[in-house]
């Protein structure tokens, strides 16, 4: 997969996860989500800086120029502004399993710099996947309510897993299906397969996300801390 798409997945995921800062169910989880967002941002910066000017790419592109998959840009709850923790862990499970595979493949390419980014990110994705897996176990096997809500999230997000895992789907299913089974959750049937993110056809959610992320640089081009 091209580095721009991989970098955009990480950048948009970082911005999404940052919405949790100061709102997580516990202080420890607040720190965890912020740290995962930071790892995503770190990977995004390294990948985008390989492709071009990281600030130009992050702050000056319009939505149709982004190449992230649709899953990365979806709200982390049933609707925009309605953050849901089980939803977020389901999203993180799907995303981090795919990123782990993409980064593993990247670590094996001939280009030494790109391979270095992959090798670094593999370690971090492994930790993210572990984190999501533990929470899926707790939520899936927790109360009736936690089980119902996390199953609803998996059902709603599952269709977006097709675009996410193009080319690595079998390996991805080998990671994700056992987690769902261990958590006592039902693996949803494969039905519709929304896509288009990789060619710049996004959901409206990306536009709102970018408006927030880019507003300062749009108003003050070249602004620095």
């Amino acid at each position: 997969m091209e580095l721009l798409a991989l970098g955009d997945d990480a950048l948009i995921a970082a911005q999404r996860l940052a919405e949790w800062v100061s709102r997580a169910p516990t202080l420890e989880e607040d720190v965890a989500l912020a740290n995962i967002a930071l790892d995503q941002l770190g990977a995004a910066r390294m990948l985008l800086a390989t492709v071009g000017d990281e600030d130009e790419l992050a702050y000056r592109r319009d939505d149709h120029q982004f190449r992230n998959c649709l899953l990365a840009e979806l709200p982390l709850g049933p609707s925009r502004g309605d953050l849901d923790f089980g939803w977020t862990m389901s999203w993180l499970l799907m995303l981090s399993a795919a990123q782990l595979l993409r980064y593993t493949d990247l670590a094996a390419v001939a280009d030494e710099h790109a391979a270095g980014i992959g090798a670094k990110a593999v370690k971090e994705s492994t930790y993210h996947l572990d984190h999501a897996t533990m929470w899926m176990h707790r939520l899936g096997g927790g109360t009736e309510q936690s089980h119902r809500r996390v199953q609803e999230a998996v059902d709603a997000l599952w269709p977006y897993g097709h675009e996410l895992t193009e080319g690595v789907r079998d390996r991805w299913l080998a990671i994700v299906e056992p987690v769902l089974a261990e958590a006592g959750l039902t693996r949803p049937a494969d039905r519709w397969r929304p896509d288009g993110g990789r060619v710049g056809r996004h959901t409206e959610h990306l536009s709102y996300l970018l408006a927030e992320m880019q507003s300062l640089h749009r108003a003050h081009p070249g602004a620095q801390w």
Binding site: L38, D39, G42, M46, G116, K120, K123, Y127
Partner: protein, 156 residues
Amino acid sequence: MTTVRTDLADIAGAVPDPELRVVTIGELGIVRGAETAEDGRVVVTITPTYSGCPAMDAIRDDIRSALAGAGFADVEVRTVLSPAWSTDMITESGWAALERTGIAAPGASGTPTCPRCAHQGQPTPVLQISRYASTPCQSLWSCRSCLEPFNAIKKL
């Protein structure tokens, strides 16, 4: 007459980590090397512990000012990613400094030993409170014996 120190990597490596002030970036394995380029510039090579580590910018600045203080005005700090940083790159004196501050090593099995109770010889039971802590490279634990919380470096 000014004496110019030439042990560049030692000067860069002696910079304290901006978040964990008790250890140097040399002890943490962040400094990969330092050399003088043909044009006289000093090139220091560093590697991040975590790719999004927010301390990297401060580390770059601190290296530049440490070398400026030793008489090297023109310093370039380069970042390399390969081989990726791991906890194995922390030196023995680095671990000792961390433990003295109450930050535990990850332990061979991934379970750290309580730094306060370590002197008792027998490891006390510990419980992980959070897989993430105050910096990306640490996790948060609690000792079931002395009941105190402590940070541990995450195995990477």
